[in-house]
Every structure is written in structure tokens, then in C-alpha cells.
């Protein structure tokens, strides 16, 4: 018996899924290795495939970061601050999407996810404001005994490798990433291995916030595979190791000694996976910007 059109069920709309890719030099490539890995939510349900970044991807990312460094460093401090604030604006506009992704990634309820996303937005704003103040807090004019004008000013250290916290997929990442770039550094970020999707979505925000391509490069993949290459790379000037598992830290710091990379690690007694990123007094500290800065002292004689 032929069905009448009236009886036919409404066609179900098939959702357009996102391909989660890397973010290198302002572009969104897949891993050159052609590999991916399955990302699951807290209950073990498949969420998506993420690119499984390789050593070659990491090298490309370092090259992009190095290339972007002079341009980003030359921006005025105010301009860098405006761009970081723009990131907050873009993030605010996509707040609902991030709440959903963070909730799925971290297995937390919508209220907790909303709190984390709001704080991530506010952390960009807090950090943006530091751009043109950090030099006034950390710079000095030095009263030397001889007849010289002598001053010390902060400059970016260069290319920073950031291993993002594993647990806090967005807020933890933002809290470690924003202090790196506000001072004029460029970086290569390894996203949370198990919860990388909010980080990948964040790169879409970065790409639409006037942040020059290459200032932030983000890889997804395995810590055990990528951290040793990042720590050993001779064109990386500093490392933020908050997200490196305790068992890998000694090896990473040993590799990093080869070109004397500056090391930023959690303070004594702080477990980064139990760290409360919502506690502003602990999570918002100017030394986390200053630890990625070099102090330069300039002397000039005073005389007629």
C-alpha cells in the first residue's frame, strides 16, 4: 500500500561535524603523518578524532613560531593588549559553544563549565591589561654610582614551548598561554592529550582575533611522543612544564639543559592537576608573565 506524503516522517537533519586539526602558522593543517586518535568524553563515548601530531609537525610549529617572533615583538605593548582583549571578545561571542565543549571534555555539569569558560574569558582580559604595564612593574632605573644612565627593561625570551595542563582543558590552557604571548613571545602549545577539543576550538578564536599567524601554534597528540622533541629542540628558548606528567619532568628538563632553556614549572608543593584555576589570587600572578621575559640592562654615560 503506497504511503501518502502526509505519513512520511520528517527527514532527520544530519549534523555537520567539525574536523579537529592542528593550528600552525595561522593555518589549520592535519598532521603531516596522516594520523589521528579518538577523543572520548568522561563516560567513554566517542566525541571526535583529533590529529595525532608528529615530530615533523612540531618542527614546523617551531619554525612558524620563530618566523612570527620579530613581528609580534615589534608590536607596541598597547597593540598586543588590544589583540588579547579581542581574543576575549571573540571567546565571549562563542561562549555557548565553549561551555558545551568544556562540559563534554571534562565531564562536568553545564554550571561548572560555564564558570570555567567565563573565567577563561576574564583571564584574557586580566592578562591583556598587563601588556603595557609589565615593563613598568618589572623595569627599573638603576641608581649606579658612576656617571651613567642605567636602566633595565623586560624583553621577550623568544619561542616558548607550552605543555598545557592536562585536566583543565580551556581555563588551565588560557592561564598558561596568555602570560606567554602578552610579553611578546611566540609559542608552540601541546594541548591536553585527553581533552584537546576545547583547545582546538580556541585556535579558531585566535585565528579571528587579529593575532598574527604563528604567534600561537597548537598541536594535539601524545605527550610521551612530543614532549621529548619539544624539550630537545634547539630553537626553543623556554619551556612551560605545568602540563608535563611528573614522571617525564626530569627527562624533559635534562634535555632542555642542552641549550639552557628557561624552565617554568609549578612552584614547590603545587600539583598542577589539583591546582584551582578559579582561584584568582593564585592563578593571576605577574611573575607568570615575567618568567618568560629577559631583563636587559643598558648603560650610557652622562655628560656634556
Amino acid at each position: 500500500m503506497p504511503r501518502t506524503p502526509k505519513e512520511r516522517p520528517a527527514p532527520v537533519r544530519i549534523a555537520v561535524r567539525k574536523t579537529y586539526k592542528l593550528y600552525v602558522g595561522g593555518a589549520f593543517p592535519r598532521s603531516e603523518s596522516g594520523r589521528s586518535y579518538v577523543i572520548r568524553d568522561a563516560a567513554g563515548v566517542e566525541l571526535a578524532n583529533a590529529a595525532l601530531g608528529s615530530r615533523k609537525d612540531l618542527r614546523d610549529a617551531v619554525r612558524a613560531a620563530r618566523a612570527a617572533l620579530p613581528g609580534w615583538d615589534r608590536r607596541s605593548a598597547m597593540n598586543r593588549g588590544q589583540i588579547l582583549y579581542r581574543i576575549a571578545e571573540m571567546l565571549e561571542g562563542r561562549r555557548a559553544q565553549f561551555v558545551e565543549e568544556v562540559a563534554a571534555a571534562e565531564g562536568i555539569g553545564p554550571d561548572a563549565a560555564r564558570t570555567a569558560v567565563d573565567r577563561a574569558i576574564d583571564r584574557w582580559v586580566w592578562t591583556a591589561g598587563w601588556a603595557d604595564k609589565i615593563a613598568q612593574v618589572y623595569g627599573t632605573v638603576n641608581p649606579v654610582a658612576s656617571s651613567h644612565f642605567d636602566f633595565t627593561i623586560p624583553e621577550p625570551v623568544g619561542v616558548v614551548g607550552v605543555v598545557a595542563p592536562e585536566g583543565s582543558s580551556l581555563l588551565g590552557l588560557v592561564s598558561r598561554l596568555a602570560p606567554v604571548i602578552v610579553g611578546g613571545n611566540t609559542c608552540v602549545v601541546l594541548a591536553s592529550e585527553g581533552r584537546p577539543l576545547p583547545a582546538v576550538t580556541l585556535t579558531e578564536v585566535l585565528a579571528t582575533s587579529d593575532l598574527p599567524g604563528g604567534v600561537v601554534n597548537l598541536l594535539t597528540g601524545r605527550r610521551a611522543e612530543l614532549v621529548p622533541w619539544l624539550a630537545a629542540h634547539l630553537d626553543v628558548d623556554a619551556l612551560d612544564l605545568w602540563g608535563v606528567p611528573a614522571g617525564m619532568r626530569t627527562a624533559a628538563e635534562t634535555e632542555a639543559a642542552e641549550n639552557l632553556k628557561r624552565i617554568a614549572r609549578p612552584p614547590r608543593g603545587v600539583d598542577p592537576e589539583r591546582f584551582d584555576w578559579l582561584d584568582d589570587a593564585r592563578a593571576e600572578r605577574p611573575e607568570w608573565i615575567a618568567q618568560h621575559l629577559e631583563m636587559k640592562t643598558v648603560w650610557h654615560p652622562v655628560g656634556m
Binding site: 618589572y138 627599573t140 638603576n142 641608581p143 649606579v144 654610582a145 658612576s146 651613567h148 642605567d150 633595565t152 624583553e155 625570551v157 628558548d237 619532568r249 626530569t250 627527562a251 624533559a252 628538563e253 635534562t254 632542555a256 639543559a257 642542552e258 641549550n259 639552557l260 628557561r262 612552584p267 614547590r268 608543593g269 603545587v270 589570587a281 593564585r282 600572578r285 611573575e287 629577559e294 631583563m295 636587559k296 640592562t297 643598558v298 648603560w299 650610557h300 654615560p301
Partner: protein
Amino acid sequence: MAERTRTPRTRATGASATPPPEPAPRSAAVGRGTASPSTWALGEGQALPWEYAPAPESREIVKLQARYGLFIGGREVPAQGGGWFTSVDPATEEPIAEVARGGPEDVERAVAAARRAFRKTWGPMPGRERSKYLFRIARIIQERARELAVLETLDNGKPIRETRDVDLPLVAAHFWYYAGWADKLAWAAPGRDPRPHGVAAQVIPWNFPLLMLAWKVAPALAAGNTVVLKPASFTPLSAMLFADICRQAELPDGVVNIVTGPGETGMALVSHPDVDKVAFTGSTEVGRKIARAVAGTEKALTLELGGKAANIVFADAALDQAVEGIVNGIFFNQGEVCCAGSRLLVQESVADEVVARLRERLATLRVGDPLDKNTDVGAINNRPQLARIEELVAAGVAEGAEMWQPACVLPERGWFVRPTLFTNVQQSHRIAREEIFGPVLSVLTFRTPDEAIEKANNTTYGLSAGVWTEKGSRILAMSRRLRAGVVWANTFNRFDPASPFGGMKESGYGREGGLHGLLAYLDLAGGV
């Protein structure tokens, strides 16, 4: 031993033994009017036409013990292994005194003494009182400056003029500067509740023995840490005199502990699990080893390592001042300075003129007895360093650079090197890449500011740099683009306790001096 006199044993070498290469034809004063040499100037390669009478500083003021033990818990004690080693006068190669050979078991005792003092006396003491101890030390150093200067010259080989006029005033000034910080720590890091790290392990080099001690000990104590210091094995003696100064100041026992010994003792110290903060000044090679030893721990680390500084001279510079600055930059302390201006980058249009003036100036440098008040360049501190300098000079010649030395007369005994100038140096030459740590200057040229920046930054080091130009905007632009922790503009090799000093890249990390040098000894994450 104190009765030994220094006879001016000299041998004529230089001009007669190894005739210097033909002087370069003097350029026709490119763009600088008539830059004729002043009337007293010498022809290149000629010895001074007159003799200076000897002007020796008396060494009577220094009363040395035959032997010095370790300084642990406020007492002088022998090493538990029972060993001793000898410190030698580099100008005569004669022994000065014996010093205890500390080992890991002595490090253990010293760290325990420092920990005890941190818990019981120095840690709980109000900053106001700590401050007064440091002022006391600064005053005693001023009072005993002559004695310390003579001892430093004996043990290190550097000219008495420099120990007297540079090292000792700076040593006292460092204690003075940091003394005033001890009761103002909250203002050093407002809102961050700064606290001392605890026990600081400090390893220092032989080129500025007492000054490096001051750079390490003064900020550490001001911040409330206690200290275990290992002086360089070639120059342990002024640290032993400093131990006596701590005694005179009645510094509580165990606040400063000094363990003398070889490099392995230093590694044992920085590797000790009860150390909270490590500070090292020395070679990049050893700095890497220390960074690896500290890897994976919670120790705070600062490193002040090697350098290969570019000293950049633009055509518009005040050349007379620049030449003095170049000479001071590389021949101060026999070039045994991590921040020495060892690569001279001269703008091409004035290169011939600058080199000619440098030769004239170098011919007037007096090399010899470090205790003679007229001496400009003293002895190289130790035999391995002398061998390293000679090896690199030979490499410079072998790789095709052109060597020139003034015809000065070197003493018969002791470890001396003539001031050495290399021209036609390529960036790939070892003498342009490796830290020589000796009185050897490599001259390269450039045409544009961009080329100068490119060449200056073309090194794994990043400690210091010099810029000579009369154009203010260029100074600021160059200063910004040079990857070096310290930039001296129209000056060189200036130091001050209020001025942060330290490197970028493989010259190490952290700053010493000034507010930033204090912060390195404070834990700012106490509230985290």
C-alpha cells in the same frame, strides 16, 4: 714565604724574537679629518722608549696562614678526607698557601650547618637585624680593602690597580647595597609575600674571586637565605679571608659556610637534596651539567655563564673614546671576563683607522708583575687557561686571521700572554665563535646596522654587547635588537651593585645585581 721579593726578571721578546707583521698602511683618515697620531705615539710594534721604575705594592699587609681549613658552622675545620691542595701565585708559579680539599662528606656537614642556621638564627631573625650584619660586613671590607686587594692579586694574578680600584670597591658596595634590602623585602615584590628559599648553594669562578663571592653572598643573606659557597680551586684564598670577616662581624654560626675543593665538590654541593637554591657563575659547559643535575628537582637555579660579546663601533663614534673602551673591554682583567668585548665589529669605513689606533694604544699597555701599580695586564690565572688561550691564538693563525702583538717584554716566570689583535677574522673562525677568556681581540667589519646586528647576534652566547655611536636613536634601536643581557653604549665593562647583570641564550639565566638580583633569592610563589 712573605719575605719573597719580586725581582724584575724579564726577557726581551716580541719585537726581536718574533717580528710583528708589517703594519697596515695608515688609511688616509677616512671621513674624520686629520686623525694623525698624537706626538707621543709609537710606531707600530715598537717598545716603549723609556722605562718605568718599579712601583710594587707591598705584600706585607697580608699575613697568611700556611694552611686554611673549611669554614663550616662558624669554625675552621679540616676536610674529613684529610686532603689539602696548594694555591699558586700565577705571576711566579710559587705556592702561596694550602687549602683543605673538601669532599661530599664536608658538603654534607656544611649544608646541615646552613640548614640549622636557617631554622634557628638567620631565618627567624628580623630583616632589620640581618641588615645590620650586612652593613657591618661592608664596613669591615672597606677597612681591610688594601689587604684583600693584595691577597686577591697574589692569588689571581690580576693587576693591583684593578683589585684596588675596581674589585674591592665593588665588593664593599655590593654588601652595602643589599644590606639595605634586608628589611624591605615586602617592597621588592609587593603583594606577593616574598620569602627566602632556604639554603643556597653557590659555586663561583676564579676570574673575580671576591667580587663573585659578594655577588652571590650579599643578596642571598639579605633575602634571608643561608649559604654554602664553593670558591674556585685556583683562587680560594680571599674567600678564606672573608670567613675571617664573618667572624669579625660576629655573623651567627652557619649562616655562611665555605667549602674549598675541586669541581666534583661543587657538583656534590649543587646536587645535595637539602639545597633549595643553586647559583653558579662559570663556563657554559659546566652550567649545562649543573642544569642537568638540578633537572626534575624543585631547586631554583640561576646561571651566569660564558660570552662572546660584540663591541660595535660605528663610523660616527668618538673614536678616541671608542678605542679606550675597546681596550678596556677586552684587556681588563687579562680578558678573563665572561662579558669581555672579544669581537670588535667596526664599520668598514673606519676599520683601518680604528685598527691603527688600537695598535698604538696596545703598544703602551704594560704587561707584567700584577703587584706593580703601573701594570695594565697581569698574569693569566692558571696553566690550563694559558694553554687554552695559546691553543686558540694558534687556531686563529692557522685559520688565516692576521695576528698582531705589541713588542712588550714578558716576565721570565709566571703565566703571561701578550695583548693580541686579530684582523681579517671570519665569523666561522674559532677565535670569532669560542670564548677565549684571554687578552685576544678579533676584529670583524660591517657596512650597515642590520649587518652589525646580524653578526653580533650570530652566536650561541648573549651576555653583553657594546655600541659606539654619537647617534642617540641608533643606540636605542641597537640596544633593543642586540640579544644580550647587558648593553654598554659608549662605554664598556661597567658594573654596579644596583645594576642587574646576566645573560640571554646560552650565557645563562637569572640576573645578579639590583632588584632583579634580589628577586632571584626570594621565593615569590609562597602563596600559590
